[in-house]
Amino acid sequence: MAAGFLDRSRIVAPPGWSRWLVPPAALSIHLAIGQVYAWSVFKTPLEKGLGISGVASALPFTLGIVMLGLSAALFGTKVDTNGPRWAMLVATVCFCTGFLIAALGVYTRQYWLVVLGYGVIGGIGLGIGYISPVSTLIKWFPDRPGMATGIAIMGFGGGALIASPWSTSMLQAFGATGDDPNPNGIAQAFLIHGIVYAVFMSVGWLLIRVPADDWKPAGWTPKEQRVGSMISAAHVSARNALKTPQFWLLWVVLCFNVTAGIGILERAAPIYVDFFRGASPAAAVAAAAAGFVAILSLANMSGRFIWSSASDVIGRKNIYRLYLGAGALLYLTITLMTNSNKVVFLICSMLIISFYGAGFATIPAYLRDLFGTYQVGAIHGRLLTAWSTAGVLGPVIVNAIADARIGQGVEGPGRYTPAFMVMIVLLVIGFVANELVRPVNDRWHEPSAPTKGKAGAQA
């Protein structure tokens, strides 16, 4: 394959190209890599089939998420420089090779290969794939950047919805479920995942196009720059962005918003059972808890699109006021009302999780507003370290506090009261951080608007 095929100049959209072909290209990548959140489907078969512990079976997932944050931060600038086709192809190769190596690992009973393949190599694919379409979408949709990135990042949430039932039925078909799962069946499932995702993701790097440098949507003119406006017409490099307070304030905002969401998401089923066990039969409560997890997934996914699109209308700062401020009040409502009203509990939980998902989806557009489009992909990549941090922080807080309460013999909703209070405090801190966000100081702006050669490489 000629290197030129991956070059940005080869994917400048010809006349007649529609920008509405870009979201399916982005979704081809995000719907695939979102599979990572369905890893739990493989846990029990791996534990029983290979005789490994629960901690070991979680390792590929944990490493994958850590590598997602690290690779997005490390390779963000390269993704911006080389363009989205290069990034999407690298993501496809890494993510699918990870599955193939994992298949080899299970087949040869060398579990470290599963960890290396899925966790490390696949994890690099996750990070590069996650940020690969972001700056391109923002450039195609300067009039609706929140909606555009919302579609793609909703796809990351939707990936697990597809993978979870699909992987489960594949494992069943290959005899890799039950008390004595066949490890070769797990290997076959990994192999098929690698091949199918390679085909599915290929549409992404084949279809992706960048707009010509001076392209703009019909009838749209950039708003005139006003002094003090939160939407900047200037550009800031990734290196300089890290020196601004705005970057670190948004880091706090994202980290605490995600931590608060994970507070419910990570223990959703046990939380539901503890709140509504009552006198219902255990099987019915377990089924209802599965329904609760499902409804939260739906809220998580739809929130990414709905709230992020709304941010194009009401502004990024205002929408984060909603995520963080209303989020804190909703947590307070659950803490005070506990299980006295199931409908209120469900509405509050769904809104909290919709704000959690929306926090991910809206942050690229917030970065675009503050730092311009010049290296927004690289800046976004660096900001995702907040996600990695929250991925550890959220579960640790909720599990540590809840387990301690259970150890003290506390029953019912009271098990989660202190954890929810911590979440309220974190959301309030995030709210204050968002209030402190101001336009970036002129001294961090690039000397002039990036020229064709400079900016063109980043679309």
Partner: protein, 49 residues
Amino acid sequence: MSSAENTAGQDTTGRPPVLLMVLAWLWVLVPFTYGLWQLLLKIPALFGS
């Protein structure tokens, strides 16, 4: 194709290659709908207990 071959500054929306557009969206919407359907099947149990 280089950017010089494009009509500079021209809006290219509104003239989509229809077949490509339909296939591209079906490519992502079909699996997405499958996942969504599987999810919706689990929700009624939430209101049964």
